[in-house]
């Protein structure tokens, strides 16, 4: 069902020069603003006793880390790329579980008004619990930091996915349900031909919010309790307390932001590809 929408095809066939000028048009403001922001940052940190390094010093002090993201000296002494991969692995695991459980439960309560009314208050309470409040509970249950952090990801990401799926299922247009009724579609056919495609845009809305929350939660959880991971690395650099610490933290935080953006765009892109023909 993943097909290229007509509009996407038209976009591809548009003249190259026009495309290039469009790219330039959207890049120029970004480049200008970024330069100005970096300039202000550099100026603010010019004082010799500044605790916060300016951008130039950050790069100078972390140049080896940037150049060699995949070194592995054993234990938790790893390159930033590897640390990010560790975090991503945890997110992938917890987030996948959240997606599977969230979509299934969401579809179920979307179709079943009794369960919806019964579970709504529980969901409304649980979804407002901050991610880190789950960590002690998870540690208590699993007695180990790895499954505990994965659980935190799961429990953080599941709510928007679940709620959006339930809403999406309820929004299925009456017209399509009428078609299903008159054709007496089987449960399986109804699921794959009507329920899933008409709910996909809602589900991906939830998945997109979920991945953002998952990434927020993993960094925080790793700072508190984890072996490896980019959150761990930030805390580790802080605890090391040497002259490079601040620069390392800054570069890690920057990476966290970039990866978070990439994840958000990735889920958004997959969603737009799948639901492009709506």
């Amino acid at each position: 069902m993943t097909t290229i929408s007509p509009s996407a095809r038209f976009r591809k066939s548009s003249p190259f020069s026009q495309k290039a000028s469009n790219v330039a048009k959207s890049l120029i403001p970004i480049v200008i603003c970024l330069t100005v922001a970096l300039g202000i940052w550099q100026l603010l940190c010019l004082a010799p006793d500044s605790k916060m390094p300016g951008p130039l010093r950050v790069i100078a002090q972390t140049w080896t880390l940037i150049l060699d993201p995949f070194y592995d000296n054993g234990g938790t002494d790893k390159g930033l790329g590897l640390q990010i991969l560790i975090s991503l692995q945890r997110v992938a695991f917890g987030y996948s579980l959240a997606a599977i459980a969230g979509i299934s439960i969401g579809a179920f309560i979307g179709l079943n008004s009794f369960m919806r009314r019964g579970l709504d208050p529980i969901i409304q309470v649980l979804r407002t619990v901050p991610p880190l409040a789950w960590l002690p509970i998870a540690l208590g249950i699993f007695q180990s930091s790895d499954p505990a952090t994965i659980f935190v990801i799961f429990i953080t990401a599941i709510w928007p996915i679940l709620i959006n799926t339930a809403v999406g299922v309820q929004q299925i247009p009456q017209d399509y349900n009428n078609v299903a009724k008159v054709l007496r579609l089987s449960g399986k056919e109804y699921f794959f031909s009507i329920l899933m495609p008409s709910t996909v845009p809602y589900v991906f809305g939830g998945l997109r919010i979920g991945i953002g929350l998952a990434w927020l939660a993993i960094v925080a959880a790793e700072m508190l309790k984890a072996e490896g991971g980019i959150g761990f690395k930030i805390w580790d650099a802080y605890n090391a307390g040497n002259e490079n610490s601040m620069s390392e933290i800054v570069i890690c935080v920057l990476y966290v932001g970039l990866v978070g953006l990439a994840l958000d765009r990735l889920v958004g892109w997959i969603g737009s590809r799948i639901s492009s023909d709506h």
């Binding site: 009724k181 008159v182 054709l183 007496r184 056919e189 709506h278």
Partner: protein, 278 residues
């Protein structure tokens, strides 16, 4: 002289077992402001293979009446029987062509029709089902657009797909609720002719709502004219005696055409007021 007044002449027909029977059907909607009697004790028998058009002013209950034949609504009293069997819910033996087409936007024209065929004839082989879908898309002149999604089709083409989908499952009764209301005059005439051709080939029984007297005279064997609501009844049933296949230009040269047309107009805009005042 072709007009039969409903209650008496219909009760004579009921004696012989009929194909489709609407038997003493009333519909009352309970609203906060009290009961709203929409249809009051309507009886109508339709023969197999007959083409019946229903005409009446907006809001008189035409859709409600046909929805009780297709099974989307239940009569408050009375019942609808198809071949002696009481209608209780929608089913593919009484297929509907919805006014807003109700095609699934994520499926191509071909896939929309295939979904219907596949769900009604699961025992047929894939080759057979494919053949049925192709034949019906050809019938409505949509060979070329078979792989387009509804978003890429014009209103007329969408309604063609909808008609192809309805007929591809070989229903006993075809229910159309103002199928051509949203189309331009030329497309409308084309589709009327296609519908007549298919109707002849399939020998299907048709119940169709329209606001257009010329459309009804061109298509129908009988025109059911409903009185104004609330508590609408069948005011008159007009037999349309023209030979088939009908030719539009010949038809409008026939003096009888104008006699019938004037009678229908008179009912809707003249005597109709009398019926209301009773």
């Amino acid at each position: 002289m072709q007009i039969l007044s409903t209650p008496d002449s219909q009760s004579q027909l009921v004696e012989t077992p009929s194909f489709l029977e609407i038997d003493g059907v009333s519909k009352i909607y309970s609203t906060p402001k009290g009961d709203n009697v929409v249809l009051d004790d309507i009886s109508l028998t339709v023969n197999e293979g007959e083409f019946v058009c229903v005409i009446g002013h907006s809001g008189c209950g035409k859709s409600t009446l046909l929805d009780m034949v297709s099974g989307f609504r239940e009569p408050t009293s009375g019942e609808v029987r198809l071949q002696g069997k009481r209608v209780t819910r929608p089913g593919p033996d009484r297929m509907v062509v919805f006014q807003n087409y109700s095609l699934l936007p994520w499926k191509t024209a071909y896939e929309n029709v295939y979904l219907a065929v596949n769900s009604v004839y699961p025992e047929k082989s894939k080759a057979e089902k494919t053949e049925i879908v192709r034949t019906h898309l050809t019938m409505v002149g949509l060979d070329e657009a078979a792989n387009k999604k509804p978003g890429q089709l014009s209103g007329g083409m969408k309604q063609r797909v909808s008609i192809a989908r309805a007929l591809a499952i070989y229903p006993q009764v075809l229910v159309l609720d103002e199928p051509f209301g949203a189309l331009d005059a030329i497309t409308k005439e084309e589709l009327q002719e296609e519908l007549l051709n298919i109707w002849r080939q399939h020998k299907v029984t048709v119940l169709m709502i329209t606001h257009d007297i010329d459309e009804a005279l061109f298509l129908a064997d009988r025109i059911v004219m409903m009185t104004n609501g609330p508590a609408a009844k069948i005011g008159e049933i007009m037999k349309v005696p023209f030979d088939r296949p009908r030719n539009r230009t010949q038809l409008i040269e026939d003096p009888q055409y104008y006699t019938l047309r004037n009678q229908a107009l008179d009912f809707l805009y003249g005597r109709f007021a009398l019926t209301e005042g009773e």
